[in-house]
Amino acid sequence: MSINYIALVGPPNSGKTTFFNQITGKKSKVVNYPGSTVEICIAKSIFNENLIFLDTPGLYSLKPKSDDEKISVKTLENLNSLVGQSSKNPNLVISFVDVNQPSRHLLTTLQLIDKGFPVVVMLTMFSKSNKSKVKFNFEKLKSQLNVPVFKLDSSNSTFENIHHFFQDYSFTEYQLNSNITDSFKSYYSRIEVILNEISYTSVDDNRFDLDNVFLNPYLGPFFFILIMLLFFYSIFSLAAPFTNLIDFLFTQLNNSVPYIFSNTILAKFVSDGLINAIGSVVIFVPQIAFLFFGIGLMESSGYLARGAIIIDRPLSFIGLNGRCFVPLLSGFACAIPAMLSTRNIQQEKIKLICCFIIPLMQCSARLPVYGLLLTLLFPNSAFKSALALTLIYLISLILSAFVAIIVGRFIPGKTNKKFNLELPEWRYPNLLNIWYSMTRQTFSFIFNAGPIIFILSIILWIISFFPSPENSFIIMIGKFIEPVFLPMGLDWRVGVAILLSFAAREVFVSTLVVIFSISATSSNLLETLSFATFDGSNKLLFELPSIVSLIVFFMIALQCMSTLAISKKETNSIAFASIQFVFYTVFAYISSIIVFKTFNYFF
């Protein structure tokens, strides 16, 4: 039996992904079209190896408006350029229809049928309406549409039925009709006729509508701010124990190295080079995972779309719209998934502005840097550190607003003021879906940023150890570049750490560990740093002006190769990514010098 490809198509929130996860188990693979970052999940059915399911991005009609929708349509029309060995079109299309809103969702179904695809209709969201909120004649619906129709409810029989269906189903070749010319108006009138024929009625259940609260003109913004504060607070507090645990484990691992390898150069390589390198990647995993979990929770419950509506007005002042909410919010976890989610933004110019300011969102890779610097600044006060961190977040948000306004003037093209968004129903979060998307995104971070950080840390160790630790390559490089960093109040050692952190910010801390541990008298990094002085003088290296100048630098600079790579890919422009890089580097450098000079003058 040959392999058949089955595309799952439907509007966002029509239950595609839940079905996909159920029918394929969890082992899905992510694929994308060359040059595009929109992801499509692909996996074999657990019933039958020869059935391969594709979960496409949400689609409202076959006339695509966003990049996401374009890719979904492409999957239908050019499947073979995605998965080489397939036929040109999927062998079968399953069209998802939320049974609570057939008058809109049937639009795609009818278009698919008219276009000539072999279609199976999947009616979803029954569990929500099991108090017979929705009534219609199922048999008549089948005859009206003239394609197989399934009900996807929580009962077990559904998957059995689907299984039986595929056992008997014979896939046939088909030809697509040329473009459909019917207007949306005529499609909607056809849908009205069908709904009349099947006597579709839906009763309003008089449940309390959460939108009365969350979209209320006054309570809405209030809860928005509250939820955002809670979101960030809980991420940091929930991730902290895991981060500490990882830190502890790696320290233990490091301490045990001399016992295994005795005190050789190999031992130094394993502990300072290898284990530090791996540790500096893994340490971020808890925070990133919790950020994605939080975003997943808000998305799955339906709040994310409400947030987008509330933030739309403020964002409109800086030339963006509510659709930028999710990318900007994700930017606080990691710029990479944030940039990927800009493909949901329908207007090209707004998408570019959003991509441009995403690196200013304080991603989790900056946190260890801030953590270290703020502890140096306020050794005895966690409260002051927390306050300073909040200030960093606020300042970066204000800066990003200005940058958005400035960049908006330079990016060609016009934006129109249009913004519309369909709100998903409020529902209980699907923890399984959240778990899948969290693990997928977290692993994608590990595999995107991991190798760079890892390789760099090893190279760093090598050049800091040879030809000899006292006169290594890194010292030569450091002395050479020192003049650049002196105006920021920093010496060559910090300079090297900054230079290397351009690959990835998190390298900064591990570099400091390596560089300062060579000459260290204490094994504690904090202690070593707080007593570190400029070469040949008694002047302390880390004092208020230099620490603040470093923080400002990290707040603004775009020190992340993976982000630049994704930015280039997502905007399809090397120029865009290069300008972004140069802009933020110069901006960061000048700002931190100004900050240093100012603080130095006053304090």
Partner: protein, 72 residues
């Protein structure tokens, strides 16, 4: 006949026509076609988007777009 943006919360109205042809198609995909019944879920927050329930879905559109939809 009046504009969708002027409708009070919880009121149900019927869409009569779209004024601006430029935005017509996008609004049509969302279900704003003449004859469709819609209920206002939330009025605009500080002149932000309004949310309406139509065809079983909740859709938010900006205020100026709502001004281009005539309803009865």
């Amino acid at each position: 006949m009046y504009k969708l943006s002027e409708v009070k919360k919880k009121k149900t109205i019927t869409i009569e026509s779209l004024v601006n042809k430029e935005h017509e198609e996008e609004l049509e995909i969302l279900g704003f076609v003449p004859g469709t019944k819609a209920t206002i879920i939330s009025e605009s927050i500080f002149s932000g988007p309004i949310t309406v329930m139509l065809r079983g879905a909740r859709v938010a559109i900006r205020k100026f777009e709502a001004e281009q939809i005539l309803v009865v």
